[in-house]
């Protein structure tokens, strides 16, 4: 009997190796937590454990790339495709950068280090599950894991009112959005009878209650829209980003947002595709693509216009992150409208690449803002940056590179990212989507104003009061230097990474180019 039960329990293809990268990160989080409770005075060990976990996990992810894809694992709960692998790498990179960038801040603010690192690792684990989840339930679990960890991180600076406000706002509004998402998932389950995304895709054409499917998907757009901060679901962003400590703001603007995009893309592009001959699927597909295009237009306009008005750099970056969610949406819709699987994969890879670049740039920028902001991020107004350009040339140069990359100037990775996400959208030829691209481009032009403003205050203005460049600890130097090099490197040599994300072989393409 017991043998029989055991056989029953193990028959599901519970292949541990396929979720090993996620497990390693979660395990590292637990080790950090345990270590911290026995040796609470430690300073660098928990960070080192975290970095080690991240490295191993990244290595495993890279090794998995070579696999012939089994498609899914764990009875279809876990996806095993390029979407998961590339986004997984993005999250690990974000976590590593955050650990490096937060060292000085942890020291100055006296935040419990172990807790911070453990929470960061759990959040990363949650994000990886979001990208890996092939089932609405797994995605939701991943989302909650990462969200709850992030809520706590936003409030880590317990003594600061703004930090408390930030955490509370994030928590209340985030839970609200999660509820929307969950309800949407329930409705979709009601319409299709499954929570498994490929099965949903197979059954949307013959859904029993098409209206239910529409309402459900609309609610999911609200839920995901909140997480990626699409207007009009963005209102929480500026306050939360301004209040949270700078390194964590950088993490929030990059990590949970990219993760939400990963599941957003998976659920909508792969779950609600256009099915030939099925009217319900057609309506659903057209509704969500046009709705997202409209949201994208609003988001880009709003994010950019609002960013112009900001005098606080953290707030400016918060609004600019809204605009960037809009740009990523352009590629997302491009994926939704792609006609072949290859084009779709390329478009998804473009979104992943875009968010990868955005994450590096943004984390680098926040690392510097946090460094210059000193305790409690006091010095984060534009005025505080007056004339520091030639006083701290390396820091200012790095910040300028980040700003130019966010702006999408050529020779930075941001440019390649923008070209990549605009491409698939233009290919569709859909009028609404083409207008979205035009709006995105005009938005980029508007954004020139506020990104350049930082360059202007740093290099063109004179400093009235004395200022000495801050001490830059080596971990922070590593993070910033890595970010600058990555931004410049991927501005020139992005070919390999794009191919890797898209799962295409670079060799074949090069042969064509030589012809």
């Amino acid at each position: 009997m017991s043998n029989f039960l055991l056989a029953q329990l193990t028959t599901p293809n519970a292949d541990i190796t396929l979720i090993l990268p996620e497990i390693v990160v979660a395990f590292a989080g637990i080790v950090v937590m345990l270590y911290d409770s026995f040796f609470p005075k430690q300073k660098a060990v928990s960070g080192a454990i975290g970095m080690l976990g991240i490295l191993i996990s990244a290595l495993l992810l890279v090794l998995m790339w070579g696999d012939s894809y089994p498609g899914t694992a764990w009875s279809g709960m876990i996806a095993h495709d390029n979407l998961r692998l590339s986004f997984g790498l993005v999250f690990l990179m974000i976590a590593a950068m955050t650990i490096l960038a937060s060292t000085l801040w942890l020291e100055i603010e006296g935040v419990p280090i172990g807790e911070f690192h453990a929470l960061l690792l759990f959040a990363t684990f949650g994000m990886m599950m979001m990208a890996a989840g092939n089932d609405l339930v797994v995605i939701f679990l991943g989302l909650e894991t990462s969200s709850i960890a992030t809520y706590v991180m936003a409030g880590l600076r317990k003594g600061d009112l703004r930090s408390n406000e930030s955490a509370l706002k994030y928590f209340v509004l985030g839970s609200f959005a999660s509820a929307f998402l969950l309800y949407g998932m329930a409705l979709v389950y009601g319409a299709t009878g499954t929570t498994n995304i490929p099965l949903i895709a197979a059954s949307v054409g013959a859904a029993k209650f098409p209206a239910l499917l529409l309402i459900g998907s609309a609610m999911m757009i609200v839920g995901f829209g909140f997480k990626v901060a699409l207007a009009p679901f963005h209102v929480w962003t500026p306050d939360v980003y301004e209040g949270a400590p700078a390194p964590i703001t950088g993490f929030m603007a990059a990590g949970p947002k990219a993760a939400a995009f990963a599941s957003f893309v998976r659920v909508f592009v792969l779950g609600f595709p256009l099915v030939a001959g099925a009217q319900a699927a057609g309506i659903l597909h057209e509704t969500w693509t046009s709705l997202l295009a409209v949201l994208g237009i609003i988001t880009i306009i709003f994010g950019n216009v609002a960013a112009i008005l900001q005098n606080n750099i953290k707030r400016m970056l918060a609004y600019s992150s809204i605009a960037h969610a809009g740009y990523a949406t352009v590629g997302f819709i491009g994926a939704g409208l792609a006609k072949t699987a290859a084009e779709r994969n390329e478009a998804i890879a473009a979104v992943a690449f875009y968010l990868f670049v955005y994450a590096i740039t943004n984390l680098g920028a926040f690392a510097i803002v946090s460094l210059l902001g000193q305790r409690n991020d006091r010095r984060a107004e534009f005025e505080d940056y007056n004339g520091i350009g030639f006083k701290a040339p390396l820091l200012s140069f790095s910040l300028s590179v980040f700003m130019l990359s966010l702006l999408g100037m050529p020779l930075t990775a941001g440019f390649i990212g923008k070209v990549l996400v605009f491409r698939p959208a233009l290919e569709s030829g859909n009028v609404l989507v083409v207008s979205l691209v035009v709006v995105a481009v005009i938005g980029s032009a508007i954004s020139a104003y506020y990104y350049l403003r930082l360059l202007v205050v740093m290099f063109f203005r004179e400093r009235a009061v004395d200022w000495t460049p801050p001490r830059v600890p080596s971990a922070l130097t590593t993070a910033i230097a890595a970010a600058v090099l990555a931004v410049l490197y991927f501005g020139l040599f992005s070919n390999g990474l794009i191919h890797k994300f898209a799962g295409t072989a670079p060799k074949a393409a090069e042969v064509r180019a030589e012809r």
Partner: protein, 535 residues
Amino acid sequence: MDLINQNLLTILILLPTIGAIGAIVYKAVTKDDSSQRWFALVITTLNFLISLLLFTRGVPAVGGFEFEQNVPWISAIHTNYHVGVDGLSFWLVLLTTFIMPLSVLCAWTAVEKKKTAFFAFLLLLESAMLGVFVTLDLLVFYLFFEASLVPMFFLIGVWGGKNRIYAAVKFFIFTAVGSLLMLVAIIALYYIYAGAVQGSGSFDFVEILAAMQSGKLVLGQQAGMLLFLAFALSFAIKVPIFPVHTWLPDAHTEAPTAGSVILAAILLKMGTYGLMRFNFAFFPDQARETAWIFITLAVIGIIYGALVAMVQPDWKRLIAYTSVAHMGFVVLGMFSFTELGMQGAVYQMLNHGVSTGALFILVGFAYERRHTREISEYGGLANVMPNYAAIFIITTMSSIGLPFLNGFVGEFLIMVGMFESNILNITDSTNWNYVAAMAAGVGVILAAVYLLWLVQRVFFGKVTNAENKKLTDLNAREIGLMIPLLVAMVVMGVYPRPFLERTDLAIKTIEARVMKSAGGAVEKTELDTKALENR
């Protein structure tokens, strides 16, 4: 040698960048901020000498390019690093490498702070500008086109005059807005190409053009016009053509002398070059249809620029407005779609580079001595600075278009071309082309008025301002750096043939492409045959 020949254009592009990095590293190691100008001078001169190797090859065949290089860059999106020169870009490359050492020299003592950064930006700018003129891949072209903004933004913003921040930001945003729409057009063209050839898309100028010429790729009426406008807007801002020119006076006036020189001599040419290279080749029908708009705007620009220049109290701003007028001439010649007119346009690009560049350098000399640009502050300078006055007057004459100096050849060709042109003749009875040509002629007269009046106010008469009495005349460096420019003015004025021969074939090709399917001519013959049939 072979290695150099095969990679000539790449070397030209990369050398200044390497120089810039070298200068910064040198500064970081030695903390020495004063010897970078030597560094910059050596690099730019070396680049000029290397660029002379371009003469070793003849004029490429129709549609062909010399010193071509084509290697994949990002194969995932089929974009290649594809460079080459033809008749159209040949002289612009040389103009760039020729002007750069001179602008380094004119900044020799003028730059007082952050010298390393200044010369590094100058060198980076040279790389970007050369890249623009030789790139044959649309995406890489866009890349260089945009990349040239950043160094100039810093040159104006850090080393500029009082109002520098406003000018720098305005310059950047104006240009960026235009070019971003071009990016959309470039990507759209990529997919239109992909659809037309039933394969993967392409950013390659040569490939797309070949598909268009073979009739594989036919642009729809609306799509063609939108794409044309997206390209044209970005170039029109750069040129600048009349209503979008407002960034230019600010940028020119506030920029440091070297910046103004490069801006006037080279950066503006990126716009006219782009129009000729891309707009005319890709969208000949649209170019013909909209020619009347561009000609009207060009004429307005010529007259308006001249009139505004006339009333400027600021010496440098006056020269800046002459750029608006002169670039109007270039646009006029281009859109005449006659061989002479377009030849004149290309020639005038070079002339404007040499003459206006020289004028800005000369204004810079006066500014370095007196630190004011108000014309009323000067007067009678010919008495204290005779050499300076002589050189200035020769340059003025070249800019006005005195025969035997370069300006004359260009303006003459453009006006003859406009007279011959039938692009504006909607019916046989109206001859708007005469009107346009005559309006341009008025512009030449006005140019003489504002420039000669300037000369009179600044140089002639008695020295009224006591501060001007002890001014020193030009030193050896200053005269030395003017000599190449003066020689160029005379040579180009007396013996334009070698210059025109180089551009001839490229111009003829573009003209044939635009006028080949000339709607007017075709319709007319159709009408005639119909009329015959009716009889």
